[in-house]
């Protein structure tokens, strides 16, 4: 009997040896005369257990991990005998870390073959589109709006309102653009979806297209994501062959086509107007708003531009109804958020859960603390433009407004964990340096301010007129925050000021002014 094995082809698994494991398993099977079939899936997101190998059994898929090539022979023996193995994790779906999650967007990621439309359909795929094809654009808009879905890229703008604006605009053509320029350190959810369940993104974008009346979509992703580019292109080709992209999708009167475009190493192109410039073939210089992309976006046409996770949430909403999605969450943050635990963390990976879970639960319980075993001292939430939170704020619930109330942001849902060896002066300096490297140069506060910020923080590190320079950094941050054109210059103050405020001891003796401001 053929044994059916599953090994991720996700870049995160490949980076820790998944391909070598596949080669070793094939060789070992041949030597033992075993017939095996290896399905390359995405990752389930339990990265400390990658490469995680699963085998289909009568009781469900049994997981093993982290597997190395040297384990291949013993692993096959254990699988064939359904016997014990030191790396055996039990039924994959019952692993507590997975079981505790609410996987709406990531339900199929790591489970299905990301190259197979049939597998996608067998796991509930394209049911959302099929229902959408029976609805009017207004009915779809009502569902998206009622679901409470907000832009998962970081800004949290209500998706339904954005779509409605584009639907109401009249133009000779409209565009759907997916912002897959996931440049924030500590985030990889977009990459996982593109590599592990690309059809859910295609389906979400297709639904957006028929809602607003667009027939062409672009997925703009990063050159740092070669695996995702390959997976998306393969999935688009497969969807075309199956009649889910191109003319008359799913046998309907609608047409929709998709194309992947690759950036060229510019972080600022994750900003939506800069991304549109780049898609048009220009320098990724930020545009002033208004006009909004919904009115004048790609090539001056009305454009829906959403993050990967926003589009990927759509099929569930259309399939299960707006209420099923909105029932999760807290306050104005409805549904689930795929949270990414990264950096110096014991159990790093993708944890999709309803809004409302606290930062402390995420870092200490789910993340298991630091990988090095030292006390966790700081976490940066929301990427390079997100604030550093100390343990004292670990009671903050994961929610757009709760984070904003504490001068932070959830951004794209990345949490980078640092242990007590972190020097917050260095992190503050890096935030400014990164802004200086990546600034598009259009506005002065960002272009010049970031460089002056690096210089001033360096003076503080050298112990030069510390109190005066700290006040100067604070002042500079205010200029950048209120004077920058986009979030790059505007949000760089978040990591800098939070480092100053919450980790004051790292910066030398406290000046009177900062203390008074507390």
């Amino acid at each position: 009997m053929t044994m059916r094995l599953f090994v991720p082809r996700d870049a995160g698994a490949v980076a820790v040896g998944a391909d070598e494991v596949v080669t070793a398993l094939e060789l070992a099977a041949e030597q033992r005369g075993l017939v095996i079939e290896i399905v390359r899936t995405g990752s389930r997101g339990l990265y400390w257990l990658e490469p995680m190998v699963e085998v289909a059994t009568a009781a469900g898929r049994v997981a093993f991990g982290p597997v190395s090539a040297a384990d291949a022979t013993s692993l096959l023996d254990a699988m064939a005998a359904d016997g014990p193995h030191p790396l055996r994790l039990g039924i994959a779906d019952d692993i507590p870390w997975l079981k505790r999650q609410t996987r709406l967007t990531f339900a199929r990621c790591g489970v299905i073959d990301p190259r197979s439309v049939e597998d996608y359909r067998a796991h509930g795929g394209y049911r959302g589109l099929e229902r959408a094809l029976t609805l009017s654009p207004d009915e779809i808009l009502a569902d998206v709006t009622t679901s409470g879905l907000r832009g998962r890229g970081g800004a949290g703008f209500p998706t339904g309102i954005k779509w409605k604006t584009v639907a109401q605009a009249s133009a000779d053509r409209k565009y759907i653009v997916c912002n897959a320029d996931e440049g924030d350190s500590g985030t990889f959810a977009d990459r996982m979806i593109m590599e592990g369940d690309p059809f859910v993104l295609i389906e979400g974008m297709t639904i957006a297209g028929l809602t607003v009346g667009a027939t062409k979509g672009y997925i703009y992703t990063r050159s740092e994501y070669p695996h995702a580019v390959e997976a998306m292109n393969a999935a688009i080709a497969a969807a075309k062959r199956a009649g889910y992209l191109g003319a008359l999708i799913g046998g309907s009167a609608h047409s929709f086509d998709l194309e992947v475009r690759v950036g060229a190493g510019a972080y600022v192109c994750g900003e939506e107007t800069s991304l549109l410039e780049s898609l048009e073939g220009r320098r990724g210089i930020v545009r002033a708003k208004p006009p909004l992309p919904a009115h004048k976006g790609l090539f001056g046409r009305p454009t829906v531009i959403n993050n990967v996770l926003s589009f990927a949430a759509i099929p569930f909403i259309l399939d299960n109804g707006a209420k099923a999605y909105a029932d999760f969450g807290m306050g104005r943050s409805r549904g689930t958020m795929p949270i990414q635990l990264a950096g110096n963390v014991k159990h790093g990976g993708l944890f999709e859960t309803a809004f409302g879970i606290t930062l402390g639960e995420l870092v200490d319980e789910i993340g298991g603390g630091s990988f090095t075993g030292r006390p966790v001292r700081a976490v940066q939430v929301g990427g390079p433009l997100g604030a550093y939170f100390p343990r004292a704020l670990f009671d903050t619930p994961f929610d757009y407004e709760a984070f904003a109330a504490r001068d932070g942001l959830i951004g794209h849902g990345g949490i980078v964990v640092f242990d007590d060896s972190v020097d917050m002066r260095k992190q503050a300096r890096f935030a400014m340096e990164f802004c200086a490297i990546e600034s598009c140069g259009k506005c002065t506060p960002c272009r010049i301010g970031s460089t002056r910020g690096v210089e001033t923080i360096e003076k503080i590190i050298r112990g030069e007129r510390v109190a005066e320079n700290l006040a100067l950094v604070e002042d500079l941050c205010n200029t950048m925050k209120f004077g920058s054109l986009c979030a790059l210059g505007g949000f760089t103050p978040y990591p800098v000021l939070s480092a100053l405020r919450h980790f004051r001891d790292d910066f030398g003796p406290a000046p009177a002014r900062l203390e008074a401001a507390e």
Binding site: A11, G12, V14, A15, V16, G45, Y47, W48, E50, G183, D184, S185, G186, T187, F188, D190, R191, S223, E224, Y225, P226, H227, A228, R261, V262, G263, A264, G265, A266, S278, L279, E280, G281, R282, R283, G284, I285, F299, Q340, L341, A342, G343, N344, V345, G348, G349, L350, F371, Q380, P384, G414, V416, F418, V422, Q427, F430, F434, I437, E438, C440
Partner: protein, 158 residues
């Protein structure tokens, strides 16, 4: 490894440009394709792209210089990129970057004198849960430690 790239050739360049020139917003697509073929974007290609897309040379030069990815000269035989973003910093990336610089005798952003290895910083490969990470000639490597880094450096020097 012998170079996987073709030497610059005007006719081949023109062919690559023509292949993509009809796309909407083709500039980046063409620059990527040129670099994939030649290993860098040869200067003579810039006016050719401009003329194919009905743009000024300055516009194409502006795009070419804006993006970190595009090279104006060939890289070393191997390109080792180390992630220098926060998640990798949190996992010990600073010390590993310093170690790689010391082993290769060049600072990040430079090529060794024998032109074997170009060492570059990269800001996030999306492998943040298996940090620190690196990429050697397009191959991803996670959970770097001193031993794994040393092996990578050695492989790059071959």
């Amino acid at each position: 490894m012998t170079s996987a790239y073709e030497p610059w050739n005007e006719a081949r360049g023109a062919e690559i440009i023509a292949e993509h020139a009809k796309l909407e917003g083709a500039t980046l697509v063409i620059l990527h394709a040129l670099q994939e073929a030649f290993g860098y974007v040869p200067e003579p290609a810039i006016p050719m792209v401009a003329s194919a897309l009905n743009l000024s040379r300055a516009e194409v030069h502006g795009v070419f210089t804006f993006y970190h990815d595009f090279r104006k000269a060939p890289a070393g035989r191997h390109v080792l990129k180390l992630c220098r973003a926060e998640a990798c910093q949190a996992a010990g990336g600073d010390a590993l970057a310093a170690r790689a610089e010391a082993k290769l005798g060049v600072a990040l952003g430079n090529t060794t004198a024998d032109e074997r290895v170009t060492l570059e910083p990269i800001y996030c490969l999306g492998l943040c849960a298996t940090a620190p990470s690196a990429m050697l000639d397009g191959r991803m490597v996670g959970r770097l430690d001193e031993a794994r880094l040393d092996a990578l450096v050695k492989e790059a020097q071959r």
